[in-house]
């Protein structure tokens, strides 16, 4: 019993103190619902446990991934692991006793500040689960703050099904409808959106970069349309892209959501860090925890969780969200990564996401039978590629070369998606060779 064994004399002293002969006597459970069976789980030494779990994990091959699609890999400096794994951070609880948890509170305050700087908005919380649940919370915020007659949220037709599905669960309770507006040449079709938006619209969502890897050219026009119809304008982005993009507040975003795990977290099977920021007028409707600066009895600046009357442990069924456990440790990691990069480093990393995919597209476009990118415009990390053959065949061919690509299901099954970041940029040669080899083999 590795972590919970009392020495024999301690155990008997404790049993004496509570007046029972056996700890089992302390369980006040009716016999009829007692569990008499076994789970059938064998105990392992620490070494054997590691070997067993790592043995399972090793069943996945090592591949060079060009996958993207909502989960992105950037190099995470070693210092992020070493600092965030310090036990005082890693094993601490939510900061309900702020006097003894100043360190984490300050780190979260610095994370909120980073998000505020990136989005241009006045209020940022200290995390949601992931980007999809952050959009879900935005939709609920819109439902609370917008006095529209109907409740309908407009999302681009290119919104990934995985995100759409999460939104539908969030929208189900308050019976909010989710409908799509068209895109043209990969980006928002402003006229199409103008035709769709009306007095029932409570929120318009648009992402940049969007699901096709394109940076939206005219989100100001989207914001104006939302504004004209008293709908909330919610922009989706991520913490690296925002390093070079115009802050969404500047073109009228009311809420910015997205993924911040692009800082601090490498590929980890889709684990995320939801980013959530909004205008100050919605402060008391914000979901999730907020860290504020206050003053302690010595007159010094000190940090504390604040405006907790919004939260479930106080407001219960009238809370702004049911969230309790969040992604604080990932926010700490993102903050450390950002601090390590500094503004120059963050801008350089973002710029690499622009140039890396552009160069890869240019090389792939030069291959016979490939059209890359499918849409003109400015890409960030990823792009769509058309091929004059079944995309799944191309994916299989690349897989034999140790490369993971993804086929896009629409467009007659002849479309691929490619994601290039700082961590796989040097493997683009191999990708191009594999694609060229497919043409050679075909």
């Amino acid at each position: 019993m590795p972590y919970a064994t009392h020495a024999g004399d301690d155990r008997s002293a404790m049993l004496d103190a509570v007046g029972v002969a056996d700890p089992d006597d302390l369980f006040d459970i009716p016999e009829s619902v007692r569990f008499d069976g076994n789970y059938g789980i064998e105990a392992h030494s620490e070494r054997a446990t590691k070997a067993a779990v790592e043995g399972i994990l090793d069943e996945s091959p090592e591949l060079t991934e060009f996958l993207g699609g909502g989960h992105y890999d950037h190099y995470v400096p070693s210092v992020v692991d070493h600092l965030s794994l310090r036990g005082e951070f890693l094993t601490s609880y939510t900061q309900y006793q702020p006097e003894v948890d100043q360190g984490f509170l300050q780190a979260l305050f610095e994370f909120q500040s980073l998000v505020a700087e990136l989005t241009g908005l006045g209020v940022a919380n200290c995390s949601m689960y992931d980007r999809s649940t952050a959009v879900g919370e935005a939709l609920l915020l819109a439902d609370r703050v917008r006095a529209t007659d109907g409740d309908e949220v407009l999302v681009p037709e290119s919104l990934p099904d995985r995100v759409r599905s999460v939104l539908e669960n969030y929208a189900d309770g308050p019976d909010i409808g989710i409908d799509t507006y068209p895109t043209t040449e990969g980006t928002v079709d402003i006229d199409g959106l103008a035709d769709r938006i009306d007095g029932d619209t409570s929120m318009v969502y648009a992402a940049t970069p969007n699901a096709r890897g394109l940076l939206e050219p005219d989100l100001g026009a989207v914001g104006d349309l939302a504004d004209d119809h008293d709908a909330l304008f919610c922009v989706g982005s991520d913490a690296v892209a925002l390093g070079i993009l115009e802050p969404p507040a500047a073109y009228g975003a009311d809420v910015v959501v997205g993924d911040a795990s692009v800082l601090g977290l490498p590929t980890t099977y889709g684990m995320g860090l939801g980013l959530f920021a909004c205008r100050e007028e919605f402060l008391r409707q914000v979901p999730g925890r907020l860290v504020g600066a206050g003053t302690d009895d010595d007159g010094n600046r000190a940090y504390t969780l604040t405006l907790q009357t919004r939260e479930q442990h106080i407001r219960r069924e009238r809370a702004t969200s049911n969230i309790c456990t969040n992604q604080a440790w990932l926010a700490l990691r993102a903050a450390i990564h950002a601090a390590w990069l500094g503004p120059d480093g963050l801008v350089d990393l973002a710029e690499e996401c622009v140039t890396g995919i552009a160069e890869a597209c240019k090389r792939i476009d030069d291959l016979d039978g490939f059209d890359a990118p499918v849409y003109d415009g400015n890409h960030f990390r990823e792009a769509l590629i058309d091929v004059d053959a079944p995309a799944s065949d191309v994916v299989d061919h690349c897989r034999h070369a140790g490369i993971a690509l993804r086929a896009v299901e629409d467009a007659g099954e002849k479309r691929l998606a490619v994601c290039v970041t700082d961590t796989n940029r040097e493997q683009v040669d191999g990708l191009v060779d594999a694609l060229a080899g497919y043409r050679g083999a075909a």
């Binding site: 972590y3 919970a4 009392h6 004399d9 509570v18 700890p23 302390l26 369980f27 006040d28 459970i29 009716p30 007692r34 569990f35 789980i41 392992h44 590691k50 994990l57 090793d58 996945s60 991934e65 996958l67 993207g68 699609g69 400096p77 036990g87 890693l90 601490s92 609880y93 006793q97 003894v100 948890d101 360190g103 305050f109 909120q112 505020a116 006045g122 999809s132 995985r162 995100v163 539908e168 669960n169 309770g173 050219p217 070079i244 099977y269 889709g270 684990m271 907020l290 009895d297 000190a302 405006l307 069924e317 049911n322 969040n326 604080a328 990932l330 950002a338 500094g342 400015n378 993971a404």
Partner: protein, 491 residues
């Protein structure tokens, strides 16, 4: 086998309990001017103009962030960590939070190269991930006495929401339109919030005089509008709901479902299973029961288990063993509610929890619960505050005879984290205490000494505490009145 008497080291003497504590504590306190460790931006604010290959109209003009060299970044966060308190520092007996020691080897397992797998790989290319997901979901199903498990919900509250959505889909598939979720007054706030988020009216169930759900009150509350009763068992007072079978019968007879809040599962390992008690849906808090570190507020993971006929409604994707060569595959359950997270929640938490379970095995897990319950009972025996309800299991709620918030601040000066305060409200000035199984007798004696030292301190003195933490007491009201939420709002 005979047990040699263990040589005692300083501070582990039997005599410490209930009396003076030998422990003193001075938390590190870095200070510069009127701030503790300054913000990075106060050390260096560097504004860079953005020079990009993108068109000007898409890009920002400038970005202002700290520009620090790695040595200074390391020092900053090291200092911040020194002004923070974790289970590695000392006990954190927060009730219903299960702040147990986090075995460090699980971090190494989580750092293994095989975790660096993208979720959009083809099934064949992520067999290691799918196998672990499959093994963990089957293991949790066994532990919970459930027929099927989804691992997707990224936290306990997300698990609640998922479970409620599953219940709703089940009722709707049966052509059954129900509007209410019943929640006992002593339940976690998330239960109320999750039910409301799913669009249900919340019916609050008063507790009986013995601190448990009253069968008569429940009879009055259930109806053909009842979609779900959400129950924590043992409840937040640490009390087992002895009438659980009658409760299940009442809810089921009314056509409702019974939901188990897994926050207190740490008291039942090897002893009882929610499925055997009549629960139809449950969530697990992997970051509590299965010891994945809480990380200052998260990440957690809140898988849910369900009875067989609810399995077709679980989120997509699910994982099963494929036919043939023993590989695993993903699939979409027939009537799936869809997704509650874009991918599979917090993967690293799943890996660590699985490693924890494997390390312990059946006997180890049962020992976890036995020791957790023994520790709570021993601590309650040692403290001088009144504990009004019992018999309790892994946690108890004591009643402070003064302001519980002051008691908590006072305890900080003794090098321990205080319990949850002023909740559940059923106990006056509540001190909700869960020491967990990983505290030794010596540390429990330290905790008891801290409780008792504070109990013996006059209220005026307590109001001046804490004195030894990095910050002194913080004015919460003024922080909320003039919210300053980023460095942009500071002078």
């Amino acid at each position: 086998m005979s047990q040699e008497p263990r040589e005692r080291t300083n501070g582990e003497s039997d005599g410490a309990a209930g009396g003076e504590s030998d422990v003193t504590y001075e938390q590190a306190r870095w200070s510069e001017g009127e701030a503790y460790e300054p913000l990075l931006i106060e050390k260096d604010a560097t504004s860079v103009s953005v020079d990009s290959s993108l068109p000007d109209e898409l890009t920002r003009d400038e970005l202002e962030l700290p520009a620090m060299r790695e040595p200074e970044v390391t020092r900053h966060y090291t200092r911040l960590s020194q002004m923070n308190y974790g289970v590695d520092s000392g006990p954190i007996p927060l009730g219903s939070c299960t702040m147990k020691y986090n075995p460090r080897f699980t971090e190494d397992v989580a750092a293994h190269r095989g975790n660096r797998v993208h979720p959009l790989r083809a099934d064949d290319d992520k067999q290691g991930i799918l196998r672990l997901l499959y093994e963990l979901q089957e293991t949790l199903a066994t532990i919970g006495g459930m027929d099927a498990v989804t691992l997707q919900p990224p936290a306990g509250a997300a698990g609640e929401f998922t479970g409620i959505q599953v219940a709703k889909a089940y009722h709707e598939a049966n052509g059954d339109d129900r509007s209410e979720v019943i929640v006992p007054e002593s339940a976690h706030g998330t239960n109320f919030a999750s039910a409301a988020m799913a669009g249900y009216d919340v019916v609050e169930l008063p507790s009986n005089d013995d601190g448990r759900v009253g069968v008569e009150a429940l009879e009055a509350a259930v109806s053909d509008e009842t979609a779900l009763l959400m129950l924590t068992n043992p409840n937040t007072l640490g009390l087992f709901e002895r009438s659980i079978e009658k409760i299940a019968e009442l809810v089921h007879d009314a056509g409702g479902l019974l939901y188990y809040d897994g926050a207190n599962l740490n008291s039942l390992l090897g002893k009882a299973r929610p499925g055997d008690m009549g629960f139809d849906i449950m969530h697990f808090n992997l970051h509590k029961t299965f010891a994945t570190p809480h990380g200052g507020g998260g990440p957690g993971q809140g898988p849910i288990g369900v009875r067989g006929d609810l399995a077709p409604f679980l989120p997509t994707p699910q994982v099963r063993e494929g036919e043939g060569e023993g590989g695993c595959e993903t699939y979409e359950p027939e009537h799936s509610i869809g997704r509650v997270h874009e991918f599979m929640g917090n993967w690293l938490v799943l890996v660590k929890a699985y490693a924890y379970i494997l390390r312990h095995g059946d006997e180890g897990l049962e020992n976890v619960s036995e020791t957790a319950v023994l520790n709570a009972n021993y601590l309650a025996e040692r403290i001088e505050y009144d504990v009004p309800y019992g018999p309790f299991h892994h946690e108890f709620v004591a009643s402070a005879d003064s302001d519980a918030a002051d008691v908590a601040k006072g305890m900080l000066d003794h090098g321990v984290h205080p319990p949850t305060t002023k909740w559940p409200e059923i106990v006056d000035e509540a001190l909700m205490t869960e020491p967990t199984e990983t505290e030794s007798k010596a540390r429990l004696d330290d905790l008891a000494a801290a409780f008792n030292a504070v109990a013996a301190t006059d209220p005026e003195t307590l109001a001046e505490t804490p004195a030894t933490t990095a910050a002194r007491r913080i004015d919460q009201a003024s922080a909320a009145r003039t919210p300053r939420l980023s460095w942009h709002t500071l002078e």
